[in-house]
């Protein structure tokens, strides 16, 4: 778990503001990357994923993420947030270097004010 870092623990935005949540990992070599969202009282759901190819990936609900290999980063973005985006967001890399485990970042809590 120490190899996944989400810098922002709690973010508060007004509706229509832009969002960027940071995620850094420390695995070398091949890595697959995921962002999950957890709405209040619910389980985690996959938001988007990156395996290879275009480093800019688009997910559901207008979210996108950019993989920057040189920076070991996979930041999540959304141009204009809505109140319904209030949730907790988790970054999770998967790498053969970590064996069969699947570790998550500590999460970022996003509150969107109407």
């Amino acid at each position: 778990a120490q190899s996944v870092s989400q810098h922002n623990h709690h973010v508060i935005l007004s509706e229509a503001a832009s969002l960027e949540l940071g995620c850094n990992y420390s695995y070398g070599g091949t890595v697959n990357l995921f962002w999950y969202v957890q709405y209040p009282g619910q389980h985690l759901q996959l938001l988007l994923k990156y395996f290879s190819g275009d480093p800019l990936v688009k997910g559901i609900k207008g979210f996108e993420a950019e993989f920057i290999k040189s920076k070991f980063s996979f930041n999540l973005r959304k141009p204009s947030v809505q109140w319904s985006d209030t949730a907790e967001y988790f970054c999770a890399p998967k790498s053969p270097n970590t064996g069969n485990q699947f570790y998550f970042g500590t999460g970022t809590s996003l509150t969107v004010i109407p």
Binding site: A1, F104, T106
Partner: protein
């Protein structure tokens, strides 16, 4: 949603009693995981399985054991529940070790 069922969904138990949580999947996925979620700690991996009878420890395995005798079932046992194990427990499954995981609805466990 993937076919994952956790049971029970809610449980209150007393300190010192054993507790078993069940995760059942209908996807025939090889990998299964147990996590606990606590405020300020995110998701922490307790144990995981990479096949029938193949399990290993995660980062917070003390006080927990697991078993997987069938592909579809992954059991988490708290051998002697303590108040520090009050948490929300999530099960997840994955088809391959490098692929995304799908989560169950969670079990809210309270140890009094």
């Amino acid at each position: 949603d993937a076919g994952i069922t956790q049971s029970p969904r809610h449980k209150v138990t007393e300190t010192g009693t054993p507790v078993t949580l069940r995760c059942h999947q209908t996807e025939n996925h090889r990998y299964m995981y147990w996590y606990r979620q606590d405020p300020g700690h995110g998701l922490r991996l307790i144990h995981y399985s990479y096949g029938v009878k193949d399990t290993d420890k995660g980062e917070v395995s003390d006080g927990y054991s697991v078993s997987r005798s069938k592909t579809e079932d992954f059991l988490l046992t708290l051998e002697s529940a303590t108040s520090s194990q009050t948490s929300v427990y999530f099960c997840a499954i994955s088809e391959r070790r490098d692929r995304e995981a799908f989560f169950g609805q969670g079990t809210r466990l309270t140890v009094v």
